[in-house]
């Protein structure tokens, strides 16, 4: 079982690396920024690989769940306040000494108008971003449940088309409902830590990268942990059996409806949570994040990393995010100058096709598998020899 020690060692080593690296990289906010975005994509790609690779549900609506998470927390921050006095105009819910004020979505800002009714010294709180993120994850899960139930009967191309349709409807609605979502301008969100972070004698400004890095890293490790645990537990076994053959799985006692819906709910929640954190970090979320192009990026990351491997997809996403970022410059071969701003996506599309065609299980996953299955293969060979001998 030496390989399992290796795996544990590498996992812990990798985690430590990710935790400690920013201490060295603090002075490089650009690298930190890419790292945060890379984790964001890694969460999306690995949760998509759980949905598509493990459970076989090729959904193109993953970014829609992400956006639902982001917009939920954004709207929560935009329209909900906690005050120490009632406005008497807005919809408000008394909570002990406080009032939860829900501003009217259409029409005037009732909180501004309501200030006239509030005594001097009234405090108005924006609710913390973390509440919004949890709300976002829950909304993502709710929509995941809805979509999961609706797509139960649909397979392959039908499922892909339905989820594209869902994603487009969400995008168009976010674009068109300007009064609520601020439309194409994008919804602005407060930073994760509006007052900065003060811990152990260190202070970080709201714009510093270190706190959001750790928040995103935590979410990444947490979701990887949850998904890994799920994938090796009965859940993983069942969703893979559903992927392989729904009817056979059902005939063997697997509650296919429950697990199919569940996998949608879980992956949607993870995507939504990632979207919510990312939106707070960037400070703005626009409906353009739902363009099919963005979804194809996530799909390509998962495919190139390894569709049937959470870790492969995550590493694939991180490498591709860094690569795409660093490829944004032109290079010259001899007399030909290649402008990578346009060509990088051409090569990227080509890489996606070629990976699919010739390396079905991705480029990263086989490397991981060689380590994890090395001992197993030896064991099998030994047994087979024994059986033949």
């Amino acid at each position: 079982m030496s390989q399992s020690k290796w795996i544990w060692g590498l996992t812990i080593g990798g985690t430590l690396l990710l935790v400690l690296a920013p201490l060295k990289l603090q002075s490089q906010p650009y690298i930190m920024h890419i790292a945060i975005v890379a984790f964001f994509y890694a969460i999306l790609a690995s949760s998509w690989s759980l949905l598509a690779g493990y459970a076989g549900q090729f959904s193109f609506g993953h970014m829609a769940f992400m956006a639902i998470g982001a917009y939920s927390t954004g709207l929560y921050g935009k329209f909900v306040r906690l005050t120490t006095a009632p406005t008497h105009i807005c919809k408000e819910i008394p909570l002990g000494k406080y009032w939860l004020v829900i501003m009217n979505i259409y029409g005037n800002n009732c909180l501004e108008a309501g200030k006239a009714n509030m005594p001097v010294g009234t405090l108005i709180y924006r609710l913390p971003a973390f509440q919004g993120i949890i709300l976002g994850a829950l909304m993502g899960g709710l929509f995941g449940l809805l979509v999961g139930v609706l797509v139960l009967r649909l397979r392959a191309a039908y499922l892909a088309l339905f989820t594209i349709g869902f994603s487009e409807i969400v995008r168009v609605a976010l674009n068109a409902e300007i009064k609520v979502t601020d439309g194409p301008n994008g919804l602005e969100l407060a930073p994760l830590f509006p007052r900065g972070v003060h811990i152990l004698g260190y202070s970080f400004a709201p714009t510093d990268k270190l706190p959001p890095y750790y928040v995103m890293l935590l979410l990444f490790l947490l979701s990887m942990g949850i998904m890994h645990w799920l994938s090796i537990s009965r859940f993983g076994l069942f969703i893979r059996s559903i992927r392989e053959d729904e009817e056979a799985a059902a005939a063997l006692g697997v509650h296919i409806i429950r697990y199919k819906v569940l996998v949608f709910v879980i992956t949607s929640m993870i995507a939504a949570a990632a979207g919510a954190v990312e939106a707070h970090y960037i400070g703005v979320i626009t409906p353009n994040i739902l363009l099919i192009l963005q979804m194809s990026l996530v799909i390509a990351m998962a495919v190139i990393g390894g569709l049937e491997s959470l870790l492969g997809a995550a590493i694939g996403a991180i490498i591709i995010e860094f690569a795409l970022e660093f490829l944004r410059t032109s290079f010259t071969i001899g007399s030909v100058t290649v402008d990578m701003t346009t060509w990088r996506l051409v090569f990227f599309g080509l890489l996606l096709m070629i990976t699919l065609r010739f390396w079905t299980s991705g480029l990263i996953h086989p490397l991981i598998q060689r380590v994890t299955r090395a001992g197993v293969a030896e064991e099998t060979v030994a047994k087979r020899k024994a059986a033949e001998g």
Binding site: F238, R240, E247, A249, A250, G253, V254, I256, I257
Partner: protein
């Protein structure tokens, strides 16, 4: 005591009457053969027993519990397991994982390692223990059939329905399957076996059900059924004696769709 009660099952597909008022019972660990010409309704019947499709009329009770209204996974948990005409191993899961699916599905709080020993015993019994960590897709067709039988042992049902267990199987594997059926039957499980391999089915089963055009035309011991005029009529209708069916049919089963 195993009790299966199939009462007046009928099934229409659009205008087509696939099954017409089929009734039979199974009491105890019987070994029942189900035969009939192509399109007689055998697969429809198994699909109804398994819960994959709902009958138009009629009821099915297993151990006094009505199962025709239940979805397949609940039917499986009630104690009815089946294989499919075309083998349906989970191709990109290891053999061991294949076996774990029904084991865990039956035991909601159990964990994989609780069943490892049992799974290895089952694989040994089926002589494929050396393939435990191989992927399903790397197995030969016959080995995949064995794998399906292994999964049924892990499911541990009262009644096992085997759909064409002998079709396209190497003679050596056929022996293993044969032994599997008799051994497991001796351990107290009832079997319903669908087969076109007349020789085998006639020697193997204790009782034969014969379907023709959706009707149950005979139900009895093999020797009785062999000489039943209705059965001879049904097979002679195709101008071929029962024994000769095997070769002409076997060639076709591979490409046959599961809903045939």
């Amino acid at each position: 005591m195993i009790e299966l009660d199939v009462n007046n099952i009928s099934k229409n597909f659009g205008g087509l009457q696939a099954l017409n008022s089929v009734t039979f019972q199974i009491r105890g660990p019987e070994l029942v053969g189900l035969i009939g010409p192509n399109g007689a309704g055998k697969t429809t019947l198994t699909n109804i027993l398994d819960g994959a499709i709902k009958p138009s009329r009629g009821t099915v009770y297993l151990n006094s519990r009505r199962i025709d209204t239940l979805p397949p996974y609940q039917v499986a948990r009630c104690g009815l397991g089946r294989t499919f005409q075309v083998t349906r191993a989970f191709r990109r899961m290891t053999v061991l994982e294949n076996l774990m699916v029904p084991a865990l599905a039956m035991h909601p709080t159990a964990r994989q390692r609780d069943f490892r020993d049992k799974a290895m015993t089952v694989l040994e019994f089926l002589t494929i223990e050396h393939l435990a960590n191989d992927y399903g897709r790397s197995l030969s067709g016959g080995q995949q059939k064995l794998l399906e039988l292994g999964r049924l042992l892990m499911l541990d049902p009262d009644i096992i329905i085997l759909d064409e267990p002998f079709a396209g199987v190497h003679p050596k594997l056929m022996e293993i399957i044969y032994e599997y059926i008799t051994t497991v039957n001796a351990q107290g499980k009832a079997f319903i076996i669908i087969s076109h391999d007349m020789d085998t089915i006639f020697t193997l089963s204790q009782r034969l059900l014969v379907l023709n055009f959706g009707e149950l035309i005979a139900d009895g011991a093999p020797d009785v059924v062999r000489h039943d005029p209705a059965v001879i009529e049904a097979y002679l209708g195709e101008e071929e004696p029962p024994e000769a069916m095997e070769e002409t049919y076997l060639g076709k089963t591979e490409g046959d769709s599961k809903d045939a």
